[in-house]
């Protein structure tokens, strides 16, 4: 479409006016701090420097060198990736399965499921974390009580937050609980949008249900699944509140740390702001890589901004 040059110029002026307030905020509170984050990561920036008692010392990439040779960093990075992977796969499987179930159920059971999912979705991360901690509490929790009642008497007084893997598992369960509704709602809308003729035609051709699901429905839903996956990766990679609250700031001896909490603890508990910033930069780079993949996928599926 060709647009008259004059219109473009007039639009341009109006656009600047309309975009200015949002742009000022985003440049001031996101772009500039990102630049500062990179800057701080190049300095020896600890409490004396933060309070102005000692001058800053430029280190170039020494913080990064120290970070990359620290075995704890690699262990935290691995834990972050695996933890995010479990949360993403869990939310997609639970959300997808319940979306399919919802399409096959009658209106009232379906409405009940949607209401419950809406409730889980709306629960603030902080409140959700505490409820799950209470459900799995060592002495007063419902879960241990029920398990003991079922004959698992060895689990009486069992602590779910002490062991590294069960603590991660508990946090992952809470995260899947509050993030599967997004997947379920989008998948449900996607399945509902498939014209019934398509499925009926396949049925007339004698295709089995399994065949219809994998050969007809899945390919149509694929773009939606890809986008839901990438959104979940981005969310779950950045989890902070649940880990911080449920594992008491990163677990016993920091064994339940993920990158975000690690950066925060280094900076604000350890007062090593330069090192914390370096971790933040590593995280930003990793997420930018995911973004590039996301944009590629979007473009391939014909997305036009």
């Amino acid at each position: 479409m060709t647009v008259p040059r004059q219109r473009t110029r007039r639009d341009g002026r109006a656009a600047v006016l309309y975009l200015a307030p949002a742009a000022v905020l985003l440049v001031g509170l996101m772009a500039y701090p990102l630049f500062q984050l990179a800057q701080i990561s190049l300095y020896d920036y600890n409490q004396p420097q933060a309070s102005g008692a000692e001058p800053l010392r430029f280190l170039a990439f020494a913080n990064y060198a120290e970070l990359l040779t620290d075995p704890q960093f690699w262990s935290v990075l691995l834990a972050t990736v695996l933890f995010a992977a479990v949360c993403v796969v869990g939310s997609l499987l639970v959300g997808g399965a319940l979306a399919v179930l919802a399409t096959r159920a009658r209106p009232i059971p379906r409405m009940l499921l949607f209401l419950a999912a809406l409730g889980a979705w709306a629960t603030p991360a902080m409140a959700g974390s505490y409820v799950w901690l209470f459900l799995f509490d060592q002495d007063l929790g419902l879960v241990n009580e029920v398990l003991a009642g079922l004959g698992f008497t060895g689990l009486e007084g069992h602590s779910w937050t002490f062991d590294r893997f069960s603590a991660f598992g508990l946090v992952a369960a809470e995260i899947i609980w509050c993030s599967f509704p997004f997947v379920m709602v989008t998948m449900y809308a996607g399945i509902k949008a498939i014209p019934s003729e398509v499925v009926e035609a396949a049925q007339l051709d004698g295709a089995s249900w399994r065949r219809i699901a994998t050969g007809v429905i899945l390919p149509i839903l694929k773009p939606l699944i890809v986008i839901a996956t990438i959104q979940s990766i981005i969310w779950d990679f950045k989890i902070f509140t649940q880990i911080y609250v449920m594992t008491g700031g990163g677990g016993v001896a920091g064994r339940n740390l993920v990158l975000n909490v690690y950066a925060y603890q280094k900076a604000f508990a350890g007062e090593e702001y330069g090192m914390g910033a370096a971790i933040g930069v590593v995280m930003t780079v990793l997420l930018l890589l995911i973004t590039v993949i996301y944009l590629r996928v979007q473009r391939k599926s014909g997305w036009q901004p």
């Binding site: 219109r7 473009t8 639009d11 109006a14 309309y18 975009l19 307030p21 905020l25 985003l26 509170l29 701090p33 990102l34 500062q36 984050l37 701080i40 179930l101 096959r104 159920a105 009658r106 379906r110 009940l112 499921l113 209401l115 419950a116 409730g119 889980a120 709306a122 603030p124 991360a125 902080m126 409140a127 959700g128 505490y130 409820v131 209470f134 459900l135 509490d137 002495d139 007063l140 929790g141 419902l142 009580e145 609980w177 709602v185 809308a189 939606l224 986008i227 981005i234 509140t241 950066a263 925060y264 900076a267 604000f268 914390g276 910033a277 933040g280 930003t284 930018l288 944009l295 901004p305």
Partner: protein
């Protein structure tokens, strides 16, 4: 393809998903003796508001609730205005650099804003020397930070709603002698109201749930705390007052739940639009 088994599975799933919420409200209403019992029952015959009273009276939860509400209202108001203006510019105006801006908007959604606590802490500290209302331990910076970080997604989502208003309408309004300004505020603004509702819910939740920035920027003031931090105070390493924690969690969840139920229809269509891009 409907079957009784699907119905039963659906109801079982609904019960399991709702169980944590039920347990939260139930535990908030249980008398202290039943909470402390090592034999928890899924009901109570003596519901009491004691835990709520303890939370509201003793711990100053009311003040924190008001702080959270104040921040959230300002964030929602700002986000409605700014995201509407930006969405209009990005969908209805033709200008050079539009595509670049859209891609940047997408990138902005991916930035791990949690990492920005470090530079923002120092930034707010120095701003506080000049403008005390926007320094550390004040609610001002919290409003700005939450507003800024909820904007990219809000603009992204609203774009779909603004684009759905047909261009003919703008031409018709122009023929009737309406200026662009009049069209934007008198015609477009009411028409995208459902989108604005959906956007404001997400901005509200963003600000209401924010724990990290509240904790970092309001690190020592007790009267300017917001809800998430207030809850953290209840949680002690040894003797847990679970009744109070559950009552506080319930109080924190109710406003979001009300919002969600009111706008669920708009929210789903809005999210579907945002996901389609």
């Amino acid at each position: 393809m409907r079957s009784r088994i699907s119905d039963v599975l659906c109801v079982v799933a609904a019960i399991l998903v709702a169980l944590p919420l039920y347990w939260m409200v139930l535990s908030a209403l249980k008398p202290a003796g039943e909470i402390q019992s090592a034999d928890p029952r899924p009901w109570t015959f003596a519901p009491t508001l004691d835990s709520f009273r303890r939370v509201l009276d003793v711990q100053g939860f009311g003040q924190y609730f008001l702080n959270s509400a104040l921040v959230a209202v300002l964030v929602v108001g700002g986000s409605i205005l700014l995201s509407f203006l930006s969405a209009v510019a990005l969908t209805r105006f033709r200008f050079r650099g539009r595509t670049v801006l859209l891609v940047m908007l997408l990138v902005a959604q991916m930035v791990p804003v949690e990492a920005l606590t470090i530079p923002l802490f120092f930034m707010v500290r120095s701003v506080g020397d000049v403008a005390p209302a926007f320094g550390l331990n004040e609610l001002g910076p919290l409003v700005l930070v939450n507003l800024a970080f909820s904007l990219p997604f809000a603009i992204w989502m609203l774009r779909g709603f603004v684009a759905a208003v047909p261009a003919d309408l703008e031409e018709a309004a122009a023929l009737d002698g309406a200026s662009r300004f009049q069209f934007t505020w008198r015609v477009l603004f009411p028409l995208v109201a459902p989108g604005l509702v959906a956007t404001s819910v997400l901005s509200f939740i963003h600000s209401w749930n924010d724990f990290l920035f509240a904790r970092t920027l309001i690190y020592s003031s007790t009267e300017n705390r917001t809800l998430p931090q207030a809850l953290l105070v209840f949680y002690k390493p040894d003797e847990q007052d679970w009744g109070a924690i559950m009552a506080g969690s319930t109080l924190m969840t109710i406003p979001v739940l009300i919002f969600f139920v009111l706008v669920q229809r708009h929210l789903v269509s809005g999210l579907a639009g945002a996901v389609k891009g």
